[in-house]
């Protein structure tokens, strides 16, 4: 068993929290894991990505080879497209549909949506809105993780436990909010799959 994930977004959008939750659940399960992160200059509003690899055997490369990613999980729609060369033929792209515009030449949103819709396996979700309705837009990353959860080959309960553990230090309210976002994302994805 192996699952390779590209996590994508803009510096500061919380892709590393997504990674730490999947990582926490995976390690509990006794899987091997490697996760390459971006630190430093790009974190200042630039594009950031994380190569996240899980397997039941020892993983060699910290980087996923092109065409081998089972999932692209993105908190920003244009950033999702930046990593398409990594996506495998039957891989899925799960992304927030809300753009993060911090550049003057951001492309037409409709064109981005069209590109994503043209992919054989993609799912877009308004994670910002769902998270906002539940209490805070800042938890949009958990909505995305919830939406990606059916594709993770992992018990949903294990992810829920991971969210509780990882956010425990920040208090019960924060845990509850993030769990609600995780569940809402999953519910949305399950409806789409059906």
């Amino acid at each position: 068993m192996k699952i390779d994930i590209i996590l994508a977004g803009v510096g500061g959008q919380g892709i590393l929290s997504i990674a730490s939750i999947i990582g926490y659940a995976a390690v509990k399960k006794g899987l091997y894991m490697k996760q390459a992160e971006v630190h430093g200059m790009s974190q200042r509003g630039g594009d950031v990505q994380s190569h996240f690899r899980l397997a039941d055997y020892e993983i060699s490369s910290d980087l996923i080879p092109l065409g081998k990613a089972d999932l692209i999980i993105s908190v920003e729609p244009m950033e999702a497209l930046r990593y398409l060369p990594w996506l495998s033929a039957d891989g899925w792209l799960i992304t927030n549909n809300q753009p993060f515009v911090n550049i003057p030449n951001y492309p037409d949103e409709e064109l981005i949506k069209k590109e994503i819709d043209n992919l054989p396996h993609s799912l877009m979700i308004n994670a910002d809105q769902i998270a906002k309705d539940l209490g805070s837009e800042r938890s949009a990353n958990m909505v995305i993780l919830g939406a990606a959860s059916p594709y993770l080959q992992m018990d949903f309960e294990a992810l829920e436990n991971a969210v509780s553990e990882v956010f425990a230090k920040k208090g019960d309210d924060v845990v509850a909010l993030n769990l609600a976002c995780l569940n809402a994302g999953r519910t949305y994805a399950m409806e789409q799959i059906r």
Binding site: G11, E37, G40, L66, L81, L84
Partner: protein
Amino acid sequence: MSKLLLLGDEAIAQAALDAGLSGVYAYPGTPSTEITEFIQHSKQAAEGNVHHIWATNEKTAMESAIGMSYAGKRALVCMKHVGLNVAADPFMNSAITGANGGLVVLVADDPSMHSSQDEQDSRFYAKFAMIPCFEPSNQQEAYDMTYDAFDFSEKYKIPVMLRVTTRLAHSRAGVERKTIRPQNEIRLHPNPKQFILLPGNARVYYKELLDKQTHFVAESETSTYNKLIDGPNKSLGIIASGIGYNYVKENFIDTPCPYPILKITQYPLPTEKIAQLLDECDAVLVAEEGYPIIEEQLRGLLNRTGNIKGRMDGTLPRTGELNPNHLAKALGIKEVHGPAIPEIVVGRPPALCFACPHIDSYNALNEAMAPYGKGKVFSDIGCYTLGALPPYNAIYSTVDMGASITMAKGAADSGLLPAVAVIGDSTFTHSGMTSLLDAVYENTPITVLILDNNTTGMTGGQDSHALGRIGNICKGLGVEEEHIRIIKPLKNQHEQNVQIISEEIAYQGVSVIIPTRECVQTLSRRMKAKKQHML
């Protein structure tokens, strides 16, 4: 013991603590910063009273680590690759004096220049100083090698280099720990003559360093970190060093690699093992992360055999970090690619944060400089280097830490006036103070903007040694008090700031302007912590 999920950097920090570390010395620099930060937040370090405060620069860090080693305790000094240029003087000479307590020099290289101005390969420095070097291929090895490096250092009384690259430094994996070793007691060297590098002593200990080389090579030959893995197909042999080894292996997950592989992660090079591979195989592919240092040595000046492949003959790219696809191509393995990136996708370069004080500083500076035209602002290393990008397009050069002031001075000396330097508070204390003294000494007509955001911003908001001191430092260096101007970089102070900058640019001597406002990142972190504290 269960595995910990650690960044390569964190694995190094944990290993150093477990190996009985007494102090870490460092200046923040991507991708090495997280090592010191891990130790700063470690309970184990706090309980052991392990030194963990940031140093002013890499040279002072290296020297403090040397001092701790001479006292008999184990010290770790961490820096990014270009930091070793700053620390090169003590580094090179510490090879001659040798170590007393274990001394490990961690250098994190940045191939592909993710956050750096060059991709220099620190293995050259290890070779130059003639000290052993470990180059871990994964997080577990990063842990094990750090732990072992201290023993190695004490066994041969020699500083040991640990070389990692960005990819390993910033990638997380499970790491198993070893038993915790107690810290050394203070233990003076029985013959401290070797620590006094008078020429007469230095000649003696330089010879001793040369004599140690055979031992180092012998260690490399027998080290489990250098292993020759046989393969049936001898048309090609592979030498893979550091994380280059992972990228080779990634291409042979389902089928075993048919070619013999020599994995090298400990230097100096194991010559016998290399000879064996070269004798057995028709050609050799060298996969190393960084400069082609092994490849170049195997080719020799004339490349007579012509059977060494790698970065120098185009089999692998000459620049940048490696990846599994580069190796697939080099090995003739079929690659798959996902869909191409759609044309509508545009670059998203890093940018100054919303409400960053540097924005207001550059806006004011640009307006004050408008009458003089472009090419007169020399800048430095930090977030404010982003002033090179639109919409500011404010700066003419950025080279190395502290260079802005001296570049402006050289330009002024040449007659290019006005000449302005832009430097951050932490960079100023790192390497700018001596530059300013040069200008003061000659009363060179330059204007220096020291952008004081109270922190070391680019690397994530570490403490700045300049905090609350910049004005006094400038005064102490001899800048006239009336030409040290503190301004607040805010939109509503813009007109006044332009006025002050213009006045000082017009002044025919050394002037310093200090736009002072806290970094928005550290400010928001501070506010959040305060709020949480109140709850």
